[in-house]
Symmetry: C2
Amino acid sequence: MSTTPEPDGSVPVTAARVPQGERTRLMRLRLMEATVESLVEVGWTGTTTTVVSQRAGVSRGAQLHHFPSKQDLVVAAVDYLTERRRLELGVTAADLPEQGRTRAALELIAAQYVSPVFFAALELWVAARTDEALHEAVVRLERRFGRDAHANMIALLDIDERRGRNRQLVQATLDLARGLGLAASLTDDSARRASILDAWAETLDRELET
Amino acid sequence: MSTTPEPDGSVPVTAARVPQGERTRLMRLRLMEATVESLVEVGWTGTTTTVVSQRAGVSRGAQLHHFPSKQDLVVAAVDYLTERRRLELGVTAADLPEQGRTRAALELIAAQYVSPVFFAALELWVAARTDEALHEAVVRLERRFGRDAHANMIALLDIDERRGRNRQLVQATLDLARGLGLAASLTDDSARRASILDAWAETLDRELET
DNA sequence: CCAGAAACCGGCACGCTTGACTGTTTCTGG
DNA sequence: CCAGAAACAGTCAAGCGTGCCGGTTTCTGG
């Protein structure tokens, strides 16, 4: 949308003439993605600025140009994660079977909390407890995501949250999912998780007021 | 219980003649306690060997004598934490009111997951996901504690876990408590937690088979 | 086309963490 | 009471993480 189209057919060997806005956007994206990957693979402690820049294939100079301090980088990564998680959320709103609808919905919800994306968020979550600057960012993230997750579940199961204890049960379900996710981060106990979700689905079907 | 009682009434000014076993035990205890405190206050990242030794009032030399590497210290702290948590567990087995017994039991159980001790365990838990050596130790810890917590809840509510979905509901309750604890580590939302536990107590009363 | 700005590069210095090392004190076993 | 071992003290070097700096390349606005 600028003023300089390619002069003519001559193709410069090295220059591709990428606008700065796009360059910056891409660079920041690569760095934030690398940060999240690093969080998943080596945890908060292992996620150093050097590691991130290497993983992103970005020079340290460029990195420090876009994110002057590690804090800037991580806070940006938090926002990036929010988007990623909300995206995962959207996909799931698809069609559910009539039979065992509750159980299927639970599966989708619980899946949000055993994904790499959640593990990255978990690292930030725990780090934020004792890190002033992170704390603010993560609280914002989680408040927003929490609302979305809540709305998502209500939509999936077509719940009227004004009736009875419905609202609390939805909240409890999300907290349960978080607890299960935490457990899953340490050992992969899918069998146990499935069994619990089975029981939980049945309970929800009985206790939710329509 | 050794061979050398005090010669007579003469009290040596400096020497207190503490047996080595006792000295070692105390030193290790102080270091592990300091480690846990440090985990609670400054998190896994902030918990450096220097910080721990200072907090414990122990010289670096002595520290390295008892725990040659940081790993040794942390793994020991994990075991120490297990004991602390199990202790907290025992205290709660006291008398519960007849009226609202379930709710009261839930309160006790949930309290396990909002205590400083849990926050310390949480730091280790998350760190263990990407730390080979820690992983083994923490998995052991959590397996053991999980069993105890399970048994504790069954005892508190006098549940026959062979009936119906009782077993799963107990498990779910513990996972829910974990999820709530994780949430509490970031922001103190006692009101929300209480509301959820209210609803859950009612549900348990209906769904548990006696 | 051309200054000026923005993006990018790689090395460097400072502070911190870790654990190894050399002494010194305190206890144990005979 | 006395060697030898264990407990304890404090310093030092190596490695790493972070952020800064001068210099180079690429883009923008006129």
